[in-house]
């Protein structure tokens, strides 16, 4: 701690920080542009000037940039000094000399850091009489809009895009006062994190193009804290609605999970909520019917029939649990294929029965060595890839620190470490975007990847099973990895279910456990397939395959399928047969899928934006998403439909549950592995100063007009029975508990930068702790239950290729595929071959390869890659129209 005198008042601040962040942490208002808690300081904008004095007698002082000045004990500074204030006002005035007269047509307006800072400095009149500089804009793809005139040359965009996120195609061009931020030529921004430019850029140069399609000011949105539904990481988001339509997804800071950023799939994948082809009305045998009729029909199909329920990895815990209660424990099946089921169980086993702790995403950034087994993170869990980047970037900063270069001094630190990178070992089937950072890349078939992992584990701890007949190269790689991991303090082992291989997960666990034994704070990160795949794995249930088998052997049965397209989880022929055999197929879902097309009854569910629910992310962190708005007539939360069904059939247990809280409490009481989920957010009776927390800002407009065309008498706003948020602008105006912040705002801070005001220490945890409850903790240190069963080395098979899944950030995930901007970036189906394999069969790129895998015939255009191991072929996972089969498996070439 250090004592600093700011405007003659003494404050205690943390040592080692810069003055700007210290002032902001103290709650003082000091304008800035180029500094960002995640990017550090470069002193580019000159906006954060303060006066610093030699000692108590120094009355003159000198101007310095507070973001570049470390805190010193007994330092005396002044923010209010007239000269400093005048300086800051001038800086904004200079920045404004070329600024266009655009606020009215600028999407940043109302959430603009430049507006806020201009008001804060007091500048209000443009004295400059000369002409303004102008720029041409660029087309940057379906996600981001470019309006270069508004740039204030703070360099935040390129520092984020290139330095932080590893993008290659955004840069600063031209010279002097004409610097230009864009691509070398027009075209889609390649980075998976480009959406963050909209939040990083303090002006309206980069804005969200999907928001522009239905533009709404920040103050006019009805917001709720939400959780991203597009992968297992569970990034925290704020979802905003206007006129009954979901309009934007922005970051919701969580210091343990996603920090300040989101990936583009998460930010722009929300379009499925507004999709035309959504299910909006109940249907019975393809006829639209009323709510009463559908409930009557369901009642008829349930009473006197055997009923089974099929859950879903993309439905909330509550929905899955109510289904399970409705059909009974014995009749509840996980709606995932056997392989996914096994992988889910294995992940839970590894995280609970072994000694290695599953790391929160943000902690990965502080790890000093990373070993990735099998997972193409950029495409399956993009934010984990971003965290790995930070780990690699930050590890060498230890050396900089030894030379008195603090981490926040970004330019100096970068200059010092040059090209040095932290240790990162990759073992994957095909190339990944992280390869460029890797100390060493090992490309092999899933089994060989696992073998490398087992070998590393054995080198670290001889008690872990050994691997025979490794090649010399593999031996040497294993040795290098083991040596490096031994030398560091906080290594992390990352793997996941993307390869579909249990053996890889086991190998990853062995490595992490062996490291634990060496007294390393070794962490493990295992990613899963879907947003609530972990939650489903924690909820006891049977295998989907057994459901298919059971029904195929019995007749006259009813099945309730919850938010699930069975065709993504089982072979089409079997699912077809299943749908035919079932007497009644009731599907509760929001998307029209091949499954709903075959269903006899379709019930319109609410999406995440129209529902309350809890999901468990890959770390084992239970997180809650809140309903943003009441859906249009007909739709409601899946769990609420199931409760209605329960009431219709006089179900003894369901009858007692009335709302979200009743369900959650029962869930926490009954499911051993889910104890504690009721603590994720305060109860719905929670009030602040007797009031609810408003979903709308105090400037929310149009409420006596928006519905006036239908009826001039305003309807009563809906009451939320499931949470303590209100659907209006009335309510408590202060800061909500961290798990239920509907939007970030603070007087004078309208932009996202207002997050500062919600943290005790800028860039650290939210005020009452980062949201989410960790459900899985490792066993106390002890003997690691090492996995054995080391696979044989891979041998190519004649006329066969080992088919693996290749994942795509855009295309592999079901929900985001229904979002227009994301759909624009989905690749065409293909099959990828190694160049030798292709040459052997005289195949050129673009030729059609016909093959059969797991009984499914495919004919796909060939893509040739020299990086894919010989004897292996890859096909994209989850593209629309491409059947999903359980891979890896041998494919027979035709």
């Amino acid at each position: 701690m250090a004592t600093v005198y700011i405007d003659n008042k003494s404050y205690e601040v943390g040592a080692g920080k810069n003055l700007l962040e210290s002032c902001l942490s103290l709650g003082l208002d000091l304008p800035y542009f180029c500094w960002h808690p995640s990017l550090g300081s470069v002193g580019a904008c000159r906006q954060c000037a303060v006066k610093v004095y030699k000692d108590a007698d120094d009355k003159k002082g000198r101007l310095i940039m507070s973001c570049m000045e470390p805190v010193a004990d007994n330092q005396r500074i002044s923010i209010q000094d007239p000269e400093a204030k005048e300086f800051r006002e001038h800086v904004v005035e200079w920045l404004m000399t070329n600024h266009p007269h655009d606020c009215a047509v600028c999407d940043e307006g109302g959430a603009c850091h430049l507006q806020d800072m201009t008001v804060m400095t007091g500048h209000n009149y443009r004295h400059f009489q000369y002409k303004k500089r102008t720029y041409q804009n660029q087309y940057l793809g379906p996600f981001i809009n470019h309006e270069m005139n508004r740039c204030i040359q703070c360099y935040r965009c390129v520092r984020f895009y290139k330095d932080y996120a590893g993008g290659k195609d955004l840069d600063a061009f031209a010279s002097r006062n004409q610097v230009y931020f864009g691509r070398h030529e027009e075209g889609t921004l390649e980075s998976e994190f480009s959406g963050n430019l909209a939040e990083i850029c303090p002006t309206g140069v980069f804005t969200d193009k999907t928001l522009k399609e239905h533009y709404t000011r920040k103050w006019d949105l009805t917001n709720a804290p939400s959780i991203c539904q597009h992968c297992s990481v569970g990034c925290n988001t704020i979802a905003g609605e206007r006129y009954g339509e979901l309009r934007s997804i922005v970051n919701r800071y969580n210091g343990k999970v996603n920090g300040y950023f989101l990936c583009d799939r998460g930010r722009f994948g929300y379009g499925f909520v507004n999709a035309e082809d959504r299910i909006r009305k109940p249907r019975v045998r393809h006829e639209t019917v009323s709510r009463e009729t559908v409930l009557e029909e369901i009642k008829r199909s349930i009473l006197g029939h055997n009923v089974i329920g099929i859950g879903s990895p993309r439905a909330s815990l509550q929905s899955n649990f109510v289904l399970k209660a409705l059909v009974g424990e014995d009749n509840f099946y996980h709606g995932v294929n056997d392989n996914e089921h096994n992988l889910g169980d294995l992940v839970v086993k590894i995280l609970t029965e072994g000694p290695a702790r599953s790391l929160p995403l943000k902690e990965v950034e502080n790890c000093d060595a990373v070993f990735i087994l099998g997972e193409d993170l950029t495409n399956t869990a993009p934010m984990v890839a971003l965290a790995v980047r930070q780990s690699v970037r930050r590890q060498p900063l230890q050396h900089a620190a030894k030379n008195n270069i603090v981490e926040w001094n970004d330019a100096a630190a970068r200059e010092f470490i040059q090209d040095e990178k932290g240790p990162l070992f990759m073992a994957t089937v095909h190339t990944t975007k992280l390869d460029e950072l890797a100390t060493r890349v090992y490309r092999a078939e899933p089994d060989n990847i696992a073998r490398l992992g087992f070998a590393v584990a054995h080198l670290l701890d001889p008690e872990a099973p050994a691997v025979d007949d490794l090649s010399n190269d593999e031996k040497e790689q294993a040795l290098q990895i083991a040596n490096t991991l031994q030398q560091v303090q906080r290594p992390v082992i990352i793997s996941g279910t993307g390869c579909g291989s249990e053996i890889i997960l086991r190998a990853a666990a062995n490595v992490a456990w062996a490291l634990q034994k060496k007294n390393k704070a070794a962490g493990i990160v295992l990613t899963l397939s879907e947003s609530n795949a972990m939650g489903l794995a924690l909820l006891n249930g049977h295998r989907l395959q057994s459901a298919l088998d059971t029904i195929l052997n019995r007749r006259d049965d009813t099945v309730i399928i919850l938010e699930n397209d069975l065709y993504r989880h089982g072979p089409p022929s079997v699912v077809d047969e299943f749908m035919k055999t079932c007497h009644n197929v009731i599907v509760v879902d929001y998307l029209n899928t091949p499954t709903t097309q075959k269903a006899s009854v379709v019930v319109p569910a609410g999406t995440f934006a129209e529902s309350d629910g809890t999901v468990v992310n890959n770390e084992g962190r239970a997180q809650r998403f809140f309903q943003v708005y009441e859906p249009a007539q007909g739709m409601q939360e899946s769990w609420r439909w199931l409760l209605n069904i329960g009431a219709a059939v006089d179900h003894p247990r369901l009858a007692a549950w009335k709302n979200f809280e009743d369900v959650t409490r029962a869930l926490a009481a009954e499911e051993v592995l889910l104890r504690g989920v009721e603590k994720v957010t305060p109860p719905s009776s929670f009030r602040m100063a007797g009031q609810r927390i408003p979903r709308e800002s105090h400037r929310y407009s149009g409420r006596t007009s928006m519905n006036a065309a239908i009826n001039v008498s305003e309807p009563k706003p809906p009451e939320d029975a499931d949470s303590s948020l209100s659907y209006t602008m009335e309510g408590y105006r202060g800061q909500a508990p961290s798990s239920m912040i509907p939007f970030f705002w603070s007087p004078g801070w309208n932009s996202v930068q207002s997050v500062n005001k919600y943290q005790d220490e800028v860039g650290h945890a939210l005020r009452d702790g980062d949201p989410g409850v960790r459900l899985l903790e490792p066993k106390e240190r002890g003997a690691a239950p090492y996995f054995s069963g080391i696979p044989e080395a891979f041998h190519p098979m004649k006329d066969h290729l080992l088919m693996v899944h290749l994942h795509h950030i855009y295309g592999s995930e079901e929900l985001s595929n229904h979002s227009k901007p994301v759909a624009e970036r989905i690749p065409q189906p293909y099959v990828m071959l190694n160049n030798d394999d292709a040459a052997e069969r005289r195949l050129n790129a673009g030729d059609t390869l016909t093959f059969e895998v797991e009984g499914q015939a495919f004919a796909l255009p060939v893509v040739i890659s020299q990086y894919l191991p010989k004897g292996v072929a890859g096909m994209p996972y989850g593209l629309e129209g491409l059947t999903i089969v359980e891979l890896p498996a041998w494919s027979i070439l035709k």
Partner: protein, 171 residues
């Protein structure tokens, strides 16, 4: 006593003053141009819609009776897709006019808006948009803004230099 007599006398004298009461509606009221009455949306001198859908009027409105949706034409010009004022709520405070950065929304000297059915007081864009500039002649927001729209490219607004040549290395 005296004061009563005086009051009576003053009142009596008023019988010879000029009359303030007018025979409305046969006779119309004279209103100044700054009178805050019925709200209209005006056009710029080129007859383009002035409103750019910035939502500032809606935000300024203390009774929240303005709602709209901004949209863009194929050339990037913004305009409201719909614009609704619920006059049964409007208090004619004029805040919207004050907030408007484009002089689009204006209160005009007309108060004859009585309706038997309250629903008829909900005015849509077709009821609001007039074919003129209203009180503020000559102003054309897009001529000073930096956005390119149909007929005005980058660098063609008032007081603008032509777009920077990014490839030029001239000092």
């Amino acid at each position: 006593m005296f004061s009563i007599v005086r009051s009576l006398w003053i009142t009596f004298l008023h019988m010879f003053h000029k009359r303030e009461t007018i025979q409305y509606p046969e006779e119309k009221v004279k209103l100044t141009t700054r009178w805050r009455g019925r709200i209209v949306l005006t056009r710029d001198p080129d007859m383009g819609e002035r409103c750019v859908g910035c939502y500032l009027c809606a935000a300024a409105c203390p009774v929240d009776c303005i709602s709209l949706q901004a949209t863009e034409d194929e050339n990037g010009r913004r305009y409201p897709a719909f614009f609704r004022i619920n006059f049964s709520r409007c208090i004619f405070c004029g805040y919207c006019e004050e907030a408007c950065p484009t002089y689009a929304i204006q209160l005009i000297p007309d108060f004859e808006m009585g309706e038997y059915n309250r629903q008829n007081l909900v005015y849509e864009k077709k009821d609001l948009l007039i074919d003129g500039q209203g009180k503020y002649a000559g102003y054309n927001y897009y001529k000073v803004a930096g956005m390119a729209i149909g007929g005005k490219d980058k660098g063609e607004a008032e007081n603008e230099n032509p777009p920077v040549d990014v490839k030029s290395l001239m000092p």
